[in-house]
Structures are given as structure tokens and as C-alpha cells.
């Protein structure tokens, strides 16, 4: 819990290791540090192991017991690129909606398959929402449990046929994935998302 000593600064690009008060060891490259708020941002190796992505940890040094500088910055940090704020805002909103809708579905007692299907459809058609346990797509097509192709109902037309195709494909993909691995509900969800 020792506060960073005076003159103890972190330069961007340095690799540091920290131990939080909660006993969590964190190590990564310093991306930013704010002295007033004692906030340190580290870029760590991605937990998922994916390339081109990284985990970012925002650490409040007020709750860090140990800070070790593994190596100091070797090069001047790259210039900051401008950010597309609107894109970020949209991402924030969509993420929130997704989580809320997911939560709604879960709270509504929708089956995992139903939730998966919803996620799949939502990737293609933004205009879809839960109506009780039914998935309402474009206010036109209703997919009721057990969410099979034959459960897609609505006014005959391109919308219905299109939704049916999506549903059909979704289950086909799910089957293919199940054959490979027996994921649990959550895993299936991830798969579905990934596949999408």
C-alpha cells in the first residue's frame, strides 16, 4: 500500500510490475500515468492470446504495494493518433445495448439457444428485440421458442424468408460446432458470437 515515493515516476514505454493491495500481480508496458490521480495505465499481453489486441490495466497506484520497473523506456513513445470519437461512442452504446438485451433475455428465462439465436440475428439485423420470450425482428417477424426455423412467423415476404435463412444457418453452424466440441451454454454463446 505504499504510495509511490516522491519523484517516482513512470515514463511511457517502461515495463513495470505492480502488486496490488488485493494481491494481484500486474505487469506491463506503461502507456500513461497521471500523477495527480495516481492512475497508471499498463498494456499487458492479451489474456486471450489474440494478436493485434492487448489487455489494458488501469491501476490506482494508491492501492499498489510494490512497483518495480523492469526496464526503462528505450525509445520515445510513438505519437498519439487521433481517435474517432463517434466510433468509440457508438461502440459504447452498442456494447451496452447488447449487454442489456442479453441480460433481458437471460432474466426472461430464454433458453441458451434462444439467446444464441438472438445474438446471431442481432449481428445481422440490428432491429431485433425480445418480446417476452419471443424474438421480434424488424417488428415483422416473430420467432418463438424453441426458436426453430418453423417457429419463424410473420407476414410472408422477403423479411420472413430472410430471417428463416439466418435461423437456419445459425443452427447449422451451431450443430457443426457442437460436433467439434461440446461447449457449455456460455461457450456456445461465445462460439456463436465468434462464428458470427
Amino acid at each position: 500500500m505504499a504510495a509511490p515515493g516522491p519523484g517516482e515516476y513512470f515514463s511511457v514505454g517502461s515495463h513495470v510490475s505492480c502488486l496490488t493491495c488485493l494481491g494481484q500481480q500486474l505487469q506491463g508496458e506503461v502507456v500513461a500515468f497521471d500523477y495527480q490521480s495516481k492512475m497508471l495505465t499498463l498494456k499487458c499481453a492479451p489474456s486471450s492470446g489474440k494478436a493485434n489486441v492487448s489487455d489494458v490495466v488501469l491501476i490506482n497506484l494508491a492501492y499498489v504495494s510494490e512497483v518495480d520497473i523492469i526496464n526503462d523506456r528505450t525509445e520515445t513513445p510513438p505519437p498519439l493518433a487521433s481517435l474517432n470519437v463517434s466510433k468509440l461512442a457508438n461502440r459504447a452504446r452498442s456494447e451496452k445495448e447488447d449487454k442489456l438485451s442479453q441480460a433481458y433475455a437471460i432474466s426472461a428465462g430464454v433458453s441458451v439457444e434462444g439467446q444464441q439465436l438472438f445474438q446471431t440475428i442481432h449481428k445481422t439485423i440490428k432491429d431485433c428485440k425480445w418480446q417476452e420470450k419471443n424474438i421480434l425482428v424488424m417488428d415483422d417477424v416473430v420467432i418463438s421458442p424453441p426458436y426453430q426455423v418453423e417457429n419463424c412467423k410473420g407476414k410472408e415476404g422477403s423479411a420472413l424468408s430472410h430471417v428463416r435463412k439466418i435461423v437456419e444457418k445459425h443452427f447449422r453452424d451451431v450443430e457443426s460446432q457442437k460436433s467439434v466440441q461440446r461447449p457449455q451454454a456460455q461457450q456456445t454463446q461465445k462460439d456463436s458470437t465468434l462464428s458470427s
Partner: protein
């Protein structure tokens, strides 16, 4: 932009903008303001926000899922929404993450948004963050390296060596900046390829593989051939065609300037320039670029400057002035009968002008009522000897018409005085102009005006005829005029009635539209007058050298200016210079005759001379070159006319106005100051012209407007454009057509402006022909041409048409009045029956003129016409329509053209054949042949030529040739301009075509027609002169002179009207022969 908009918005609502923020604009403003003001102070100073890197990182994390641990060990899961300066964090849709395996989020577990105090946060873990997600700039090593399809390996980026491996090519990028050379030298390339790739080039600079090297030796044979080659090269490069084409390439004028722009100033400038830049015939060709307008203008200017102005002043009011000019011309013409008289033109001009009254006579005969007007208009003509006066009268009438027109406004009384003479003349014409009666009718309608017009026409015809014989001119002129007048009537079934109708229409129209029309007509008449003047010179020249000298010069300038192609013509002109006068005069005459005599004469002459010349030339030159071809003069003249016509048409009203101005002096200013100066010097006419100009201008616009609408109807599409002007003109024309005098009268009636216009023309023509006498001819012709538009109009409208028309009419009447009349009528009818007549006549006159101009002239005229016509076309499009109409009329070339046209053709053909008058028949036949053949100008030309030679003696043949020529010319014109082409076909019957063209022009754009006619007429004379025929022309003219009487006789014999035509033809025939010979 946004800022501006914001600002703009702000300003509007500035008052409450700051706080209210009611509207988006305001909000924006507010934001803008805040952003501008707030950020700097607040943001910068607030905690984390001051840390760029922290802000950047946290911002790039927005929208990502994260796990946030708080001091108590609780873990919250949510979407990172935002953060505060104090680094308080906001998570949306956050929920407490349960330690165990999550069963699934429950809706009630989610918190829409949670704000964590920075002091409560221990660690926030963002998983799998893509820092490039929100990056705008993706072109970084990371971004590039990361973009590998499907593969997640770091791409090894290779540094660029800056093209070091290509050091051979260039040392460095810098060298590219400093390297001035245009790429690699071939030798360097060869060397590089050889060194670098071992490739040996087989390139041989001698290109022996593709050609045979010239083996040079000193053998006599080789030297001869070399000299021959050099000579040929020189000839080619010296050829007007070559120069004209080169000039075209170097023509810096924009398309708009050339074809679309309707700028009086320009025209004026052109004219002025031309005039100012008066260039010897030889050099004229080189001026090709501005031929159309410039030449014509210049001619006009010259003419105006030369004699017209003075005469006008001297003469009674307008008519007097014009008359004087005409008279002078006529004087020349009258005297012209004898070459000496022509030469005398200079001195005599004034007297002739005085004589101008003669014109009236010519018309008077045709139309009693007109006579008075004519007299007034022709008052001056009257003074002029009858014969000369006739020519003069023809000229005078035109002038008179202008004058009369003018006079009507101011000096009608004077015209009246003239009237008597005019009447006398009229009688003369009358005899020949049996058709005249129609004219008389018109005269009745048109009254004095028509008479005047007729007189003018007659004068023209006389002039044209004058070509035949100056002395005869008066009678002949009358006859020609009469013939022309009759012709018109005849041509148009309207013949009598039509004339009357035309007069009446003219009168009526004149009354209403007359002011405009009259002006237009006046301008036309003026142009005619100018033409007449020219004609006079021509006539006189025709009879004598004067015309040649005068006419040719004027023509030459125009041609030259108009087209470089005229080079040949220039040569011709040179030749003609001596002879040119005749051509010019002839042209002048022809122009005046255009109506009848001119056309007939010119046609013959032109056809003969020009035809022969043009025949050859035309084919090659068909378009512009034509003129250059044989008779540079004729070409120039034709060109000039064409330009003038074009100008006229283009400007239509303006053209007329301009022309009038040009003549009066306005032309000078317009064309060129020099011209003006010249004109001024030459004659007071210019001053008068200036005065007139204003009027003219006003009138022109009106006429154009009014005329255009009707004309379209009248003649086919081509003429349509012109039609408006033509209509206007027609009215005028009609008066004229019915009876040349009538036209003038009508003009007079129409408005002083008309007179003014005419006056200018008159002055111009006179000035040019008379004053310029020797040199003037070209100038005159040019002037005429320039004036042509105006003058042309006049001649075409008035005298020429009348003259030719009479001849034609007579011929037509006799031979196949129906055809001609029908044809003419057809066009006229189509366009406007009455108008048609006048137009027809004019057209014929023009046609004639073109022929007279001969191939060169035609070519020239065509070129000029093209240019000008095109201009005009563009302006009023009249020409195009006309041409089309003509084609239609002609049917031969373009059956589709106006049915009337076809009918006309048919009629013509039939009529021609039947036509009692051999000449007419010949002409008709020739025309028909030409028409048939006509499709091909050359053929026509040839045919015409062929006929002409034989017929040479007989006036008819020449006429026919002329007609054919004219048609050919027209055809040529047409060719250049589809319209013209159409005309050509239509013109197939040269006469008919001419008439048709005239008609169409007259209908569509009388101005154009007139101008063309003038031009043609002018061309013709010039051609004659140019070809070296000048003298020949003179001879011819003299013969014609004899012819004039003969013409009269012929006209009388075959038909009064035809007589003029015959005369012209006769003269033309000779001329043609000359041309042919030359050719």
C-alpha cells in the same frame, strides 16, 4: 464551413444565442463557443484531462468491456463509458461479477450506469483491447503489418531503399526536380539497354526499312525535280486554301466568337478591322480568319467610306445620299454601259446618285405606286441617266429604298422628287418586269416603298445587268428589276399577287413590323443599295472596268478577310483587280440584281466566270476554299457577301443595323475605324449611314424579332431562323419583290431606319464601287459584302432580288413561271408567300451573285457565308433553316427539305423546261440540272458552265450557268453549311435554289439572303474581275452592257424580268467563259 455556418447562425440569433441554444444552429454555436472558450481553460487545468496520454488511452478504451475492482474486492463488470477529470470512471450496464460461474445476467442485476470514484478503484482490467479500433490513421507500420488476411503474424516490413537499385535511371529524386530534359534521350535509352540488358538496338535513323532514302545527285534531272518540288511546295503553301486552312488552325477566335457570339461590336470591329486593314486582294486571302465578318464589313466600310457616304449626304436625304452613291455607281453603271462610264463612276457617282432616281424609274414601271416612293427614294436615281439610272435605279432604288426608307422618316419628299425618275425607270423595269405588276400590286400595298424597293431591286438587277451593259442598265435594269420583281412574283406563284402581296404584306407588315422590317429591309435595301452601289460600280465596271476595280477590291478585301482560301481569289482578284472591278461591279450589280438582274447576271457571270473558276475550285473548296479556288475575287466577293449576309442574318436585325451603320458610318465604326475613315473620306454617306445606323439598329432588332417567327413558317427550318429576319425583310422584301421599287417603298414605309440602313448600304456600295473605283471594286465588293449583310440585304432584298427575280421571274414566267414562281412562291409561301417572293427574288439575286462570284466567289461567299452565315445562322439560324428549306425546295438535294422547296424545284424544273424564255429555261434547266446534279456543286458548276458557254451568247445560258453556279455556290454554301448544302440541292435549280435560298433566307433571314445575294452578287462581279475576267468581265459586261440593253431586250423578249437575268447571264456568260477559261 461548419464554423462559418455556426457563425452565420450565431449572427442571426446572436442576441440570445449564447444562452438559449434553442435551435441546432444555436446549439452548435454554443458548442462552438464552449469548445473555443471552455476547453482551453477548464480541460487543460483539470487533472487527467491534462494528461494527453492518459486521455488518449482512456478514450480509446471507451466502449470496451472491463472488470473493475474496488477497494472492498468487489468486481464490477460493465462497459466503460467515460471518465472525469478526476479519473472517476463510469461503467454502463454494470453488474457485480459473481465469483462463481456466472449463471447469466439478470436484468435486475444490471445497473444502467455506475460512477466509480477514482479513489475507490483499485484496478480496471480491459480485455482484448484493439488500440487501432478508433484510429483514424490506419496507415502505420502497426496497422499495415497487422493487415494480413487471416494471418496473425507480424509482417516483416522492409525499408524502402529509395530506388537505389535504379541508380542507373536517375541519381536521386532531386534530379527529377532539376532535370529539365523531356525524358530520356533515345540514345541514352539505347545505351542503357545495351549496357544493362545487352540489348542492341537496330534503330536506323534513315528509316531505310520504311522508306527509300533520297539519292541526291547533281544531275539535271534531279535538280529539275528538286526545283519542281520546291515550286510545288511553294505553290501549295502560297495557295489560299492552304493559307486559309492554316489560318483556321491559327484562328485564335473562340468557337463562340466565330459562330455564336452576337456582338455587334465585333462585327463592327471586324468590318472596321477589315476596312481599316484594307488589304490588297493578294494579301486579303491571308486574312482568312476573319473573312466572313471582317471582309464583308471591310467591304462595307470601304464602300460606305468610299462613296456612299458622300453621295448620301449629297443626295436628298437618305435616298439622295444612297441615291447619289447609287447614282454614282449607276452613273458608273449607266455610263457603265460603256466602260468609261464605269470608270467615270468615281466622278459620275455623284451625278449618278443624283440620277439614283433612275432606280425609282425601274421600280415605278414595275409598280406605279412604288414609283412615287421610288421616285422619292430614287429621286436621285431619276437624275441619273435612265440606263445608268436603271442600274443606278437598281442601285438607286436600293439606295433609294434605303433612302426612301430613310426618307420616309425624314426625306420621303425628296424621294418623291426622285420618284419621277424612279417612275420612269420603273417603267423601264416594268416592261421587262411584267412580273412587276405583281410588284405594282405590292407597290400598291407597299406603295411608293415597294416601288422604291423595286427600284432598288431593279437597280440591282440593272447592276447585275449592268454587268451586261451599263447603258442598257437602266432599261435592262428596269427589265432586270422588273424581271426580278416579276421573277419573284413568278418564282413565287405569287408573282404578281405575291409581289403585290409581298408589297402589301410588306406594306402591312411594314406598317406594323415595317418599322422593323423596313429597317431591316432598309438595311437590306441599304445593303442592296450598297450592293447596288457596288452593283453600279460593278455594272459600270461590268460594262467597264470600274466595277471590276471597285467591286473586286471590295470583294477582295471581304474575301480575303473572310477567307484565306481566297488566296487564289486574291490572285484572281489581282487579275480581276483590273478585271475585278467588273466582278465586283458585277457582283455589285449582281447583288443589286440579286433580286433579278444581279442574280441573273451575276449568276451567269458568276456562274460563268466563277462557275468555271469555282467549278474547279468549288469542288475542292466546296466549302470555304471554293472561293479561294478560282475567282478569288468572286470568292472574296461571295465570301464577303456571305459574311455580310451571315452578319446580316446573324445580327439579322443587328446585322442590318450594323450594316446600315456600316454603310452610314456605323459600319465603319463597327468594322473598323479605318473603314469608317475611308468611308467618311470617300463619301458623306457614312455620316448619313451613321445617322441611319442608330435607326437601323433599332429597326434591326425589331425586324429580326418579328421576322424570325414568321419566316420559320415560310421556309423550312433553315430559313426559319432567318425567317424572322426575313419575314421582316420579307415585308420589306415583298415590297421590293413585288416590285423592287415596292420593296424599297416598303422599306421606306417600314421605317426611316430602313432608309438609313439602305442609305448606308447605298453609301457603302456607292462609295466602294464608285470611289474606290479601281481598287475600290474589291473594297467595294468587300464593303458590299460587309455591307453585304446590310447592303447585301438590301440588294438581296431589294434590287438584286428584283432584278434577278425579274429575270427569273420573267424567265420563270415565260419558261416556267410556275416552277420558279411556285418554287419561289413555295418557299415564300412556306415562309411567307409574299415574303417568299421578295426573298426568292433576293435569293435568286444572291444565287445569281454566287454564280457570278463564280466558284471562287461561291467558295468565298460560301466560306464567308459559312462563317457569317453560320454566325448568322447561330444568331438567327436563319441561314440554316433557309438552306434546309432550300434543300427541301430543291428537293433534289434534300427532298425532305421543305416540300415547297421541292415543289419549287419540281416546278422550277418543270417550269424551267417549259419556261418560254430560253435563258430562263436554260437557267432553269441548268438550275434543275444543277439541282439534280446540284447535289454536287461541281457538277452543277460544270453543267452550268457547260451550258453557259454555249448559252454564253444567249443570255440564258449564262444565266443558267450562273444560276447553276449560283446554285452551286449556294450549294457550296450549303455544303459548308448543311443549310447551304440543302440549298444547293434545292438550288440545284440554281435560280430556283438561289431564289429558294433567297427565299428561305429572305423568309428566314432576309438579311442573310440579302447578304448572300449581295455577297454572291458581289462575288460574282469580283469573280469576274478576279478571274482576270475583270476586263473580260468588262468585255462581258460591255457585252452585257450591250446586254443591258440586250438584257432589257432579252428581258423584254423572253420576259422583261428574264431580260435582266439574261443580261446578267449574258454578262455572266462571258464572264463565265472567262472564268472557265481562267479555270
Amino acid at each position: 464551413m461548419s464554423m462559418k455556418q455556426a457563425g452565420g447562425n450565431r449572427k442571426p440569433g446572436s442576441g440570445a444565442a449564447s444562452g438559449a441554444g434553442g435551435s441546432g444552429g444555436r446549439q452548435n454555436l454554443g458548442r462552438g463557443r464552449h469548445s473555443a472558450k471552455g476547453p482551453s481553460a477548464a480541460v487543460v487545468s483539470n487533472g487527467v484531462y491534462a494528461n494527453m496520454r492518459m486521455v488518449h488511452v482512456l478514450t480509446s478504451l471507451v466502449g470496451t468491456n472491463c472488470e473493475l475492482k474496488v477497494k472492498n474486492g468487489m468486481v464490477y463488470d460493465g462497459v466503460f463509458k467515460t471518465y472525469s477529470p478526476e479519473c472517476d470512471l463510469v461503467l454502463d450496464a454494470a453488474n457485480i461479477k459473481s465469483p462463481g460461474p456466472s449463471v447469466g445476467l439478470r436484468q435486475e442485476d444490471l445497473v444502467d450506469s455506475i460512477i466509480f470514484k477514482a479513489s475507490d478503484v483499485v484496478v480496471v482490467h480491459f480485455r482484448d483491447v484493439d488500440f487501432n479500433f478508433a484510429r483514424k490513421d490506419n496507415f502505420t507500420d502497426t496497422a499495415v503489418g497487422g493487415r494480413i488476411n487471416g494471418e496473425h503474424k507480424e509482417k516483416d516490413l522492409e525499408p524502402w531503399d529509395g530506388g537505389r537499385q535504379q541508380h542507373m535511371v536517375s541519381g536521386s529524386l532531386e534530379s527529377l526536380d532539376t532535370d529539365v530534359s523531356n525524358g530520356w534521350d533515345p540514345n541514352d535509352m539505347f545505351k542503357y539497354n545495351e549496357e544493362q540488358y545487352g540489348i542492341k538496338s537496330t534503330y536506323d535513323s534513315s528509316l531505310s526499312t520504311y522508306t527509300v532514302a533520297l539519292e541526291r545527285d547533281n544531275s539535271e534531272e534531279f535538280l529539275k525535280r528538286e526545283a519542281r518540288a520546291a515550286q510545288l511546295a511553294e505553290e501549295i503553301e502560297a495557295s489560299s486554301t492552304y493559307k486559309s486552312r492554316v489560318a483556321l488552325e491559327h484562328d485564335e477566335r473562340s468557337e463562340e466568337e466565330k459562330y455564336t457570339a452576337v456582338v455587334r461590336g465585333e462585327r463592327e470591329q471586324h468590318t472596321l478591322n477589315r476596312e481599316n486593314k484594307y488589304i490588297p486582294p493578294g494579301q486579303r486571302n491571308r486574312e482568312g480568319m476573319s473573312w466572313g465578318a471582317g471582309r464583308q464589313n471591310s467591304p462595307r466600310l470601304v464602300q460606305s467610306s468610299s462613296g456612299p457616304p458622300p453621295p448620301r449626304p449629297g443626295l436628298h436625304d437618305y435616298t439622295p445620299s444612297s441615291g447619289a452613291d447609287q447614282r454614282v455607281v449607276n452613273g458608273g453603271a449607266t455610263s457603265c454601259p460603256s466602260p468609261s462610264s464605269r470608270y467615270q463612276s468615281g466622278p459620275s457617282p455623284l451625278p449618278p446618285r443624283a440620277a439614283t432616281p433612275t432606280r425609282p424609274p425601274s421600280r415605278p414601271p414595275s409598280r406605279p405606286s412604288r414609283p412615287p416612293s421610288h421616285p422619292s427614294a430614287h429621286g436621285s436615281p431619276a437624275p441619273i441617266s435612265t440606263i445608268p439610272s436603271r442600274r443606278m435605279s437598281s442601285e438607286g432604288p436600293p439606295r433609294m429604298s434605303p433612302k426612301t426608307q430613310r426618307t420616309p422618316r425624314t426625306h420621303r419628299v425628296p424621294p418623291g422628287s426622285r420618284v419621277p425618275p424612279g417612275v420612269d425607270f420603273m417603267p423601264h423595269n416594268a416592261p421587262g418586269e411584267v412580273p412587276v405588276p405583281p410588284a405594282t400590286r405590292s407597290s400598291s400595298s407597299g406603295g411608293t416603298w415597294s416601288s422604291v424597293v423595286s427600284g432598288a431591286h431593279r437597280p440591282r438587277s440593272p447592276r447585275q445587268n449592268s454587268m451586261g451593259g451599263a447603258s442598257p442598265g437602266p432599261p435592262s435594269h428596269p427589265s432586270p428589276q422588273i424581271g426580278s420583281a416579276p421573277v419573284e412574283p413568278v418564282t413565287t406563284p405569287m408573282s404578281v399577287s405575291s409581289p403585290a402581296a409581298s408589297p402589301a404584306t410588306n406594306m402591312a407588315t411594314t406598317s406594323s413590323a415595317e418599322a422593323k422590317d423596313s429597317r431591316v429591309q432598309a438595311t437590306r435595301q441599304n445593303s442592296p443599295t450598297a450592293n447596288e452601289e457596288n452593283m453600279k460600280p460593278l455594272e459600270s465596271p461590268s460594262s467597264i472596268s470600274r466595277p471590276l476595280s471597285k467591286g473586286p477590291p471590295s470583294m477582295a478585301p471581304d474575301h480575303r478577310k473572310q477567307i484565306d482560301n481566297l488566296k487564289k481569289f486574291s490572285a484572281d482578284f489581282r487579275l480581276q483587280s483590273s478585271s475585278n472591278p467588273d466582278p465586283q461591279f458585277q457582283q455589285m450589280v449582281t447583288k443589286p440584281p440579286r433580286d433579278t438582274g444581279e442574280k441573273s447576271k451575276q449568276l451567269p457571270l458568276d456562274k460563268g466566270l466563277e462557275g468555271s473558276e469555282e467549278g474547279p475550285v468549288v469542288p475542292a473548296r466546296s466549302n470555304k476554299p471554293d472561293s479561294p479556288g478560282a475567282p478569288s475575287p468572286s470568292l472574296s466577293s461571295t465570301l464577303c457577301p456571305a459574311p455580310e449576309q451571315n452578319r446580316g442574318p446573324e445580327v439579322t436585325s443587328q446585322g442590318v443595323q450594323t450594316s446600315a451603320p456600316n454603310f452610314s458610318g456605323g459600319p465603319k465604326p463597327e468594322d473598323k475605324e479605318e473603314d469608317e475613315a475611308d468611308q467618311m473620306r470617300k463619301s458623306t454617306l457614312n455620316p448619313n449611314a451613321h445617322e441611319f445606323k442608330p435607326r437601323v439598329f433599332t429597326p434591326q432588332p425589331k425586324p429580326a424579332t418579328t421576322p424570325t417567327p414568321p419566316r420559320p413558317q415560310g421556309q423550312p427550318s433553315p430559313s426559319i431562323v432567318m425567317q424572322q429576319p426575313q419575314q421582316v425583310y420579307f415585308p420589306q422584301m415583298y415590297p421590293l419583290t413585288p416590285v423592287s421599287p415596292g420593296v424599297q417603298k416598303s422599306i421606306i414605309w417600314k421605317s426611316p431606319a430602313m432608309y438609313h440602313v439602305q442609305m448606308p448600304h447605298m453609301t457603302l456600295s456607292q462609295s466602294k464601287p464608285y470611289r474606290p473605283v479601281p481598287n475600290m471594286p474589291q473594297q467595294r465588293s468587300d464593303q458590299h459584302h460587309p455591307q453585304g449583310t446590310p447592303t447585301m440585304m438590301h440588294p438581296a432584298a431589294g434590287p438584286p432580288i428584283v432584278a434577278q427575280s425579274p429575270a427569273y421571274s420573267a424567265q420563270y414566267f415565260t419558261c416556267s413561271p410556275q416552277q420558279f414562281t411556285s418554287q419561289q412562291l413555295m418557299p415564300h409561301y412556306q415562309s411567307q408567300a409574299q415574303h417568299v417572293f421578295s426573298p426568292v427574288i433576293q435569293g435568286q439575286a444572291r444565287m445569281m451573285a454566287p454564280p457570278t462570284h463564280g466558284h471562287p466567289g461561291q467558295l468565298v461567299s460560301s466560306t464567308t457565308q459559312y462563317g457569317e452565315q453560320t454566325h448568322t445562322m447561330y444568331v438567327s439560324q436563319g441561314p440554316m433553316p433557309q438552306q434546309y428549306a432550300h434543300p427541301n425546295t430543291t428537293l433534289h438535294p434534300q427532298p425532305s427539305a421543305t416540300p415547297t422547296g421541292q415543289s419549287q424545284q419540281g416546278v422550277q424544273h418543270g417550269g424551267n423546261h417549259p419556261a418560254p424564255s430560253p435563258v430562263q429555261q436554260h437557267q432553269a434547266a441548268a438550275a434543275a440540272q444543277a439541282l439534280h446534279m446540284g447535289n454536287q456543286p461541281q457538277q452543277q458548276m460544270y453543267q452550268a458552265l457547260a451550258p453557259t458557254p454555249p448559252s454564253m451568247t444567249p443570255g440564258p445560258n449564262p444565266q443558267s450557268p450562273q444560276g447553276s453556279f449560283s446554285s452551286a455556290q449556294q450549294a457550296v454554301y450549303l455544303h459548308p453549311q448543311q443549310m447551304q448544302h440543302s440549298y444547293n440541292p434545292s438550288h440545284m435549280a440554281h435560280m430556283q435554289q438561289v431564289s429558294s435560298t433567297f427565299r428561305s433566307p429572305s423568309l428566314h433571314s432576309e438579311y442573310i439572303l440579302y447578304e448572300q445575294a449581295h455577297i454572291q452578287s458581289g462575288m460574282v462581279p469580283s469573280h469576274h474581275g478576279n478571274p482576270g475576267h475583270p476586263q473580260m468581265m468588262l468585255m462581258a459586261t460591255q457585252q452585257p452592257g450591250g446586254p443591258q440593253p440586250q438584257l432589257a431586250q432579252n428581258a423584254l423578249n423572253p420576259i422583261p424580268v428574264s431580260s435582266t437575268a439574261h443580261f446578267s447571264y449574258l454578262a455572266h456568260p462571258q464572264v463565265q467563259q472567262h472564268h472557265q477559261q481562267q479555270l
